[in-house]
C-alpha cells in the first residue's frame, strides 16, 4: 500500500543538539550548585522544583503513551516515539531523587521530630508523614513508572523489527494495569512532594491538580518536539497538519481541564472560608505573591486559551511552537507557586536570584540529551506498529 517515496528513513539528530544539551546541562548544574553557596535552603528547593518539573513531563508522557494504547488512538501512533523518549527520564528519576531523599530534614517540616511531638495534628499524621514511609512511597512510585516504561518501550521497540500485532495487544493490557497505578502514584507524589511541604494543609483535589498540570506540560513538550522534528524532516513525511491539530486540540482541552480543577480548588476553599484551608492561599497572596497568583491565571489559562481557541491556530506550527514553550514556562511558574512560598513566606516577596533557574536549565539540557541518545539508537517513528498506516492517513 505505502508508496516507496513516502517511507520513513531513520536519520540521526544533529550533533549540535548534543553539544547544546551538554552546554545547558553544564551551565545549569554550575549555576544550581553555585546557588548552594549563597542560600543552601533555597537552592535545595530550586532543585526540588526542577525535579518535579522533570517528573511531571516524564510521567505525563508515559501516561500519554498508555492513553494512546488504551483509547486505541491512531492519529498519535506516528508520533508515539516522542512521548516514549520523553518518558525515558522515568528510570533516571531514581538517581535524581537521591539528593532530595538525603535532605528530607531540610525540606519537610514534618520530618522534625520535636515539632511533630509538640503538634497534635502533625502527630496524628505521623503514621503517613514519616521519613521511612516517605522514602518507601517515593521509591515505589518511581519503581512503578520505571517498570512500565521499560515494558512499554521494550514491546514498542521489538515491534519495529517483528511487526508482531500481539505486542500491541500486550501493551494495551499493560496500559489498563498502568493507568490505575498511575493515578495512585501521581497522587502520592503530589501529596508527598508538594502538599506536605505545608503539612497542616489538605485538599482532596490536589492529586488531580498535579495530574492536570503534568499532562499539560507533557503535551507541551511532546508538541514542541513534534513540531521541531517535523520541520526538520525527522518524522514520517506523510505526517500532516491534522496530526498537529489533534495535538493542539488536546493541549487546548487539558489547559481548560487544568483551569477547571484549579478554579474548583480555589473556589471551594474561598467560599467555605475555613481558616485551616484558606491560609494556604493567603500565604500565596502576601507581597509580590499576589501578582504571581493572579498572573498564573493569565499565563497558565487565558493566554494559551486565547491563542489556541481558533481552529487554524491549532495547526499553525509557529503558534504551536510558541504556545508549547509558553506552557512549559507556565508550568514552571505553577510549580514555583506551589513550592517556593515555603522558602520565602517569611520574606514575603519573590527574590529574583540569578541562580534560581539553574537546575531548570540543566533539566532542559537533560531532555535534549535524552532525546539525542534515544534517537540515535531507535527509530523516531514506530515503523512496526500495525496502526501506523491508519495513523498516517488520519483525516479529521
Amino acid at each position: 500500500m505505502s508508496q516507496n517515496d513516502l517511507v520513513y528513513q531513520k536519520k540521526n539528530l544533529p550533533d549540535s543538539l548534543k553539544r547544546l544539551g551538554y552546554l545547558l546541562l553544564v551551565i545549569g548544574l554550575a549555576l544550581g550548585v553555585a546557588g548552594f553557596l549563597f542560600d543552601a535552603q533555597r537552592a535545595l528547593f530550586n532543585y526540588l522544583l526542577a525535579f518535579i518539573f522533570i517528573m511531571s513531563i516524564a510521567v505525563g508522557s508515559l501516561f500519554l503513551v498508555a492513553l494512546e494504547y488504551i483509547a486505541g488512538a491512531e492519529w498519535s501512533t506516528p508520533i508515539r516515539r516522542v512521548p516514549e523518549f520523553l518518558a525515558s527520564f522515568s528510570p533516571i528519576l531514581i538517581i535524581l531523587v537521591i539528593p532530595l531523599l538525603l535532605n528530607v530534614h531540610s525540606i519537610f517540616e514534618w520530618s522534625h521530630k520535636d515539632i511533630v511531638a509538640g503538634d497534635k495534628i502533625l502527630t496524628g499524621k505521623s503514621p503517613y508523614l514519616n521519613t521511612t514511609f516517605f522514602i518507601g512511597r517515593t521509591l515505589f512510585s518511581i519503581g512503578v513508572w520505571s517498570l512500565f516504561y521499560f515494558l512499554f518501550v521494550r514491546n514498542s521497540r521489538k515491534q519495529d523489527v517483528t511487526k508482531d500485532q500481539l505486542l500491541t495487544k500486550k501493551n494495551i493490557k499493560l496500559s489498563a494495569i498502568f493507568i490505575p497505578l498511575f493515578a495512585i502514584t501521581i497522587t502520592i507524589s503530589a501529596i508527598d512532594w508538594m502538599m506536605s511541604l505545608e503539612p497542616h494543609w489538605f485538599s482532596t483535589i490536589f492529586g488531580v491538580y498535579f495530574f492536570a498540570g503534568s499532562v499539560v506540560a507533557a503535551l507541551a513538550a511532546v508538541t514542541l518536539a513534534t513540531v521541531l522534528l517535523k520541520e526538520k524532516g525527522f518524522l514520517h513525511p506523510k505526517m500532516n497538519n491534522e496530526h498537529l491539530f489533534s495535538l493542539g486540540a488536546l493541549q487546548f482541552t487539558f489547559i481548560n481541564f487544568w483551569a477547571y480543577i484549579a478554579f474548583s480548588q480555589f473556589m471551594l476553599i474561598w467560599y467555605a472560608n475555613l481558616p485551616e484551608e484558606t491560609y494556604w492561599f493567603i500565604g500565596r497572596w502576601g507581597g509580590i505573591w499576589s501578582y504571581v497568583s493572579i498572573g498564573l491565571i493569565f499565563v497558565h489559562f487565558i493566554v494559551p486559551y486565547a491563542v489556541l481557541l481558533s481552529q487554524p491556530a491549532k495547526m499553525d506550527q509557529k503558534k504551536l511552537k510558541f504556545i508549547s514553550i509558553w506552557i512549559l514556562c507556565a508550568r514552571v511558574i505553577d510549580l514555583y507557586w506551589l513550592i517556593m512560598p515555603q522558602v520565602h513566606s517569611a520574606k514575603a516577596g519573590v527574590l529574583t536570584i540569578f541562580f534560581e533557574f539553574g537546575f531548570l536549565i540543566a533539566a532542559v539540557g537533560g531532555f535534549l540529551l535524552v532525546f539525542y541518545f534515544n534517537a540515535k539508537k531507535h527509530n523516531l517513528v514506530p515503523v512496526g506498529d500495525p496502526k501506523l498506516e491508519k495513523g498516517l492517513n488520519f483525516r479529521l
Binding site: F263, F266, M267, Y271, Q311, R395
Partner: protein, 387 residues
C-alpha cells in the same frame, strides 16, 4: 400553466465519487447558482464546490463575549450597586462566585445565537415552499442519491448546455423543475378569520380562568385564606365576639412614654435633657425647628412670624424669661402647648424635642453673646483653623 417559471435543472448520481467529480466540473464550467444535494455531508465537497469556510464561528464568538460581559456586568450592578448586601462575608463584587453564572450565560447566548442565525440568516428557514420540495428529486437525494441542481437565474444558464453537461457527466434522471405559482395570502379569508377568532377566544378564556379562578383554589389561595384572626374581624374564640384584644391596663406603647405633667401650667420638677449636643443632634434640631417652630417663632426665634398676622405672633425666644428657663420648661411647652400654641407631641418625637431644645439654646447663645464672648469664640475658631 404559462405562469410557471423554470427554477432549474436537476440531475442524480449514484456514488459519492461521481458527485464530487460532477460538482467540480459544474464549478469549472463557471456556474455560480447551483447547489449539490446529498443525504449527508460529503467530505471533500467544500473543496469541489470551492466554498469559503463558514463564518458561523464569528457569530458564536461575538455572542459568547457579549454573554460573558453582560452577565458579569449585570451581576456587578445588581449585587454591588443596585442592592448591595453582605452575603456570607463575601465582597459585593464576589468574582469567583459570579463565574458559574457568567459561564452559563455565555454558553446559552452563544449556542442560541449560532443556531438561530444559522437557521434564519444562513439558511433562510423556514422555507417549505421551495420549488425543489415535493419533487422525486428531493425524495431521492434525502434517501440515497446525490444530485446537482443548476438554477435558471444563473447568468450562464442555458437549457441545452446544462443538459449536455449533465449527459457528459453521465448523470441520471435529468429533470426540469418549475416553481409553482404562489397565490397571494388573503387576510379576509373566512378560514383565517375563524382561526384568529378562535385563538382570541382561547387566549382570553385561559387568561380569565387563570387569573380569576385557578389562582383562587387551594393551594394557590395562600394569600387570601390564612389561619389567623384578621384585624377588626369577629372571633368565635372569645366570649365577647371580638377578634382584637384590649391591651393590659397600664400598657405603654414603644417609644410612647407618657408625659407626667400633661395639662399642668408648669412642670413640678422640670425634666433634664437626655441628649448630649453634637453635630448630628444640632442639625436634627435645626431641621425640626425650621419645619415645625419657625413658621410662628421665626427662623431665629425672634417671634417674627411668616404668617402675616393671620395668627397672633408669639413672644421672642430670646426674652430673659425663656433664656432663664430650664430645658424641662421648654420641653413642657412643646409637649403641652401654651396659650394659643397647641401641643407638638404628635409632630416631634421625644428625642427630636430635646434636639430642638438644644438648637434653641444655640440660637439664644448666638443672639445674646457679649462682645468678650464673641472674641473668645473667634479665637477658638482661628485656632481650630490653624490646626
Amino acid at each position: 400553466m404559462s405562469e410557471r417559471k423554470l427554477f432549474g435543472i436537476t440531475v442524480l448520481f449514484h456514488t459519492p465519487d461521481e458527485i464530487i467529480h460532477a460538482a467540480s466540473k459544474v464549478r469549472e464550467a463557471g456556474y455560480k447558482n447551483y447547489d449539490v444535494h446529498t443525504p449527508y455531508p460529503l467530505h471533500g465537497m467544500d473543496a469541489a464546490m470551492n466554498l469559503k469556510p463558514s463564518k458561523l464561528g464569528y457569530i458564536t464568538l461575538a455572542f459568547g463575549l457579549f454573554g460573558a460581559a453582560f452577565a458579569l456586568l449585570f451581576m456587578y450592578w445588581a449585587m454591588s450597586i443596585d442592592y448591595p448586601m453582605i452575603i456570607g462575608g463575601k465582597p459585593f463584587f464576589a468574582l469567583p462566585a459570579f463565574i458559574p453564572i457568567t459561564f452559563e450565560v455565555t454558553v446559552l447566548l452563544a449556542t442560541l445565537a449560532t443556531v438561530i442565525s444559522m437557521l434564519a440568516f444562513f439558511f433562510k428557514f423556514p422555507f417549505n415552499s421551495h420549488p425543489l420540495h415535493d419533487t422525486p428529486y428531493m425524495k431521492a437525494v434525502s434517501s440515497d442519491k446525490y444530485g446537482i441542481c443548476i438554477e435558471a437565474d444563473d447568468v450562464l444558464f442555458d437549457l441545452e448546455k446544462v443538459k449536455a453537461l449533465y449527459k457528459e457527466l453521465n448523470g441520471q434522471n435529468i429533470t426540469e423543475i418549475y416553481s409553482s405559482v404562489v397565490e397571494p395570502f388573503k387576510i379576509f379569508e373566512p378560514k383565517f378569520l375563524t382561526l384568529l377568532t378562535l385563538v382570541a377566544l382561547l387566549t382570553s378564556g385561559a387568561t380569565y380562568i387563570t387569573l380569576n379562578k385557578l389562582l383562587y383554589i387551594t393551594p394557590f389561595d395562600w394569600l387570601m385564606n390564612q389561619s389567623r384572626v384578621n384585624v377588626q374581624s369577629k372571633s368565635t374564640f372569645y366570649a365577647d365576639g371580638f377578634g382584637m384584644r384590649k391591651p393590659v391596663e397600664g400598657s405603654v406603647a414603644r417609644n410612647f412614654i407618657p408625659y407626667e405633667y400633661m395639662g399642668l401650667i408648669a412642670p413640678v420638677v422640670p425634666l433634664s435633657n437626655t441628649l448630649i449636643p453634637s453635630n448630628d443632634i444640632l442639625s436634627l434640631g435645626k431641621k425640626r425647628f425650621l419645619t415645625f417652630c419657625s413658621p410662628c417663632h421665626g427662623n431665629y426665634g425672634d417671634g417674627d412670624s411668616r404668617l402675616n398676622n393671620q395668627f397672633p405672633n408669639p413672644p421672642s425666644l430670646h426674652s430673659e424669661k425663656v433664656r432663664g428657663w430650664q430645658d424641662g420648661n421648654i420641653y413642657h411647652v412643646i409637649v403641652n402647648g401654651q396659650n394659643v400654641m397647641p401641643s407638638y407631641a404628635s409632630q416631634l418625637s421625644r428625642d427630636e424635642r430635646w434636639a430642638v431644645i438644644h438648637y434653641i439654646r444655640v440660637l439664644q447663645k448666638a443672639k445674646n453673646a457679649s462682645p468678650s464672648e464673641i472674641i473668645e469664640a473667634k479665637k477658638e475658631i482661628l485656632s481650630n483653623v490653624a490646626k
